[in-house]
């Protein structure tokens, strides 16, 4: 574990060189939050009105949290990197080091996105507090649980994106698969809570990655309860194990077929 922390730390140190780039990339985040603030402002006639169990402020906080988590994964860049490692043969040069490629990739990726995520948290919370003048009531244990659930969400999402990237072992380009995955998460998970979807569809979504990567931590943040906590954390742990096993199995199968020619 120590070596993965070191990988994380090294990537974090490396990325301090790109502070300005990171700040520029936040423009998207700011715009999206701003658009959704106005959208929900328009939809809700009365700020205290509940739609599918959510008030206007809860909906805006929901989007802020899911956007921070989704941004923390920065899946498009990460998936492309894994895919290029596989297709370009770079993976071969990492295999003769005493670490797991999956562990290395995730630690390095999280090191890359940490600064961006921290700035997103500060900016997102500042915007929420400034425009809504409201903050969900959370006890200290609840805050700790929300943080744990958010970290688990980022880890699961990173593993699922790793899995999609590793599909490049089988097909030429895994980017179209990532495109489908990201659009599914974005449209069905980041923007709307599960309660907004009709009965059977909502039930199916409870078993999908959306529940553990977006809905879970955001729901705990806007509407905390211990019964939901158990359900969400349990689902996240199961998903984490399954995602890791899937990545590991695909990696092991892929490296046996690895075809790296030339010096």
């Amino acid at each position: 574990m120590k070596k993965y922390l070191h990988i994380y730390k090294s990537e974090l140190m490396s990325n301090l060189q790109y502070m300005l780039n990171i700040v520029f990339r936040l423009v998207n985040f700011l715009l999206l939050i701003f658009i959704f603030m106005n959208l929900w402002d328009y939809i809700y006639d009365n700020p205290n009105e509940l739609i599918n169990g959510y008030s206007k402020n809860q909906m805006i906080w929901y989007v802020i949290i899911t956007e921070i988590i989704w941004g923390a994964t920065d899946g498009r860049r990460y998936c492309r990197k894994i895919s290029e490692d596989v297709k370009g043969g770079n993976i071969a040069y990492m295999m003769n080091k005493p670490y797991s490629y999956i562990g290395y990739s995730i630690a390095s990726h999280l090191g890359e996105t940490t600064i961006k995520t921290l700035i997103s948290v500060i900016v997102g919370f500042a915007m929420g507090l400034f425009f809504l003048k409201d903050f969900p009531v959370l006890t200290l244990p609840a805050i700790v649980i929300v943080i744990i659930s958010s970290i688990l969400a980022v880890l699961i999402n990173s593993l699922l994106v790793t899995f999609i990237g590793l599909i490049s072992f089988i097909i030429e380009d895994s980017n179209p698969i990532f495109w489908l995955y990201s659009k599914m998460i974005l449209v069905l998970g980041v923007l709307f809570p599960i309660e907004y979807f009709p009965g059977i569809f909502a039930q199916i979504m409870k078993y999908s990655p959306i529940y553990v990567t977006c809905y879970g931590p955001a729901k705990l943040f806007v509407d905390f309860s211990y019964s939901t906590t158990v359900e969400i954390l349990l689902s996240q742990i199961i998903y984490l194990c399954i995602a890791w096993l899937m990545c590991h199995a695909l990696y092991m199968k892929g490296v046996r077929k690895l075809n790296v020619t030339g010096g």
């Binding site: 490396s14 670490y99 020619t261 010096g263």
Partner: protein, 324 residues
């Protein structure tokens, strides 16, 4: 004691074939056609502890594929590999602690970190305790003369300085075997010479076994006592450097500048390599003639300048590649 043992090793690659043009592209989607290329074909060899072995061959001969199998990156189709008593296909991670690799065409350092931070990173990767890592970095910095730029980000270092850092990163965990895949590629002659000195020093000081591939014959000539030549996936020669040269001792090169031109064509034992006015470059086969006869034929009175040398190693190796 042998540290690398390879027996009947083979590896093939399936390469997709495509007919030309648009129709060919469509056809390759519907009915993909693959060609099997035998990259390594039933090779066997052993390397002893402390040896510096050159593993050479033309492009596409199977050198890098062999190194990748020896380091556990690629899985062989058949055959057996033993590196330091470990089978790379079964215990790649365990082997990684015992070996080091430098791929001249692939940097392993973090560009935005300083050389020192990079070494600390590699120490952590190889589970080296903090104190021991510091000691090792200090020792290697002195050996490779890195003190002046150890705290400079790698991206700001010259290529030569970077290569030295690559070596240190590969040696931080005291590997028993070091695989060098074209370590001097792209370096200027001065830096190349420095790198060769360092490899020699490393072998002498730490008794590290070195397995080297390079297209630069000087690397091989100056560093290795043994040469394994691979071509089309099979080993065509495995011999000591002195033997390699000895086999071609029957050929000499004479470069001569004459007062008046002599026709060397059709003279037994002489092959004209180049001729320009009164200057000639000749290859002499000493099995067919001898140097005294040749000198008499030229007539010493007619000679302005003369140089007699052995066949350059580069030409010897090229001849072996061409199976001459």
């Amino acid at each position: 004691m042998s540290v690398i043992s390879v027996k009947n090793l083979s590896k093939s690659f399936k390469v997709k074939q495509k007919e030309k043009g648009f129709i060919g592209s469509v056809k390759s989607i519907i009915q993909p056609n693959y060609k099997v290329i035998k990259a390594v074909n039933d090779i066997s060899f052993q390397v002893d502890e402390g040896e510096v072995v050159a593993f050479i061959g033309p492009n596409g001969a199977g050198k890098s594929t062999t190194i990748k199998m020896l380091t556990g990156i690629l899985y062989p189709d058949s055959g057996h590999i033993d590196v330091l008593g470990i089978d790379p296909t079964k215990a790649r991670k365990k082997l990684a602690y015992e070996i080091g690799t430098v791929f001249g065409q692939k940097e392993q350092l973090w560009m935005h970190l300083t050389a020192y931070d990079n070494f600390k990173f590699f120490s952590a990767i190889y589970d080296i305790p903090e104190k021991e890592a510091e000691k090792r970095i200090e020792e290697l910095s002195k050996l490779f003369d890195l003190e002046k730029f150890i705290n400079t980000p790698v991206r700001n270092l010259s290529l030569g300085q970077r290569v030295r850092c690559e070596f240190v990163a590969s040696l931080i965990h005291k590997p028993k075997v070091l695989f060098l895949d074209e370590p001097t590629i792209g370096l200027d002659p001065v830096v190349k010479e420095n790198v060769r000195k360092l490899i020699k020093k490393m072998n002498k000081e730490y008794h590290t076994t070195i397995f080297l591939t390079s297209h630069d014959i000087s690397d091989i000539e100056k560093l290795c006592k043994r040469v394994i030549i691979i071509n089309d996936g099979t080993i065509v020669m495995d011999d000591s450097m002195s033997n390699l040269k000895y086999h071609y001792m029957d050929k000499k090169i004479i470069e001569v500048k004459l007062k008046s031109k002599i026709n060397f064509n059709n003279v037994k034992g002489i092959k004209v390599l180049k001729e320009k006015e009164n200057n000639s470059r000749l290859e002499i086969n000493t099995n067919e003639t001898n140097l005294t006869t040749i000198l008499k034929f030229i007539n010493p009175e007619n000679i302005i300048d003369i140089n007699i040398s052995n066949i350059p190693l580069e030409e010897i190796i090229s001849a072996i590649y061409r199976k001459e």
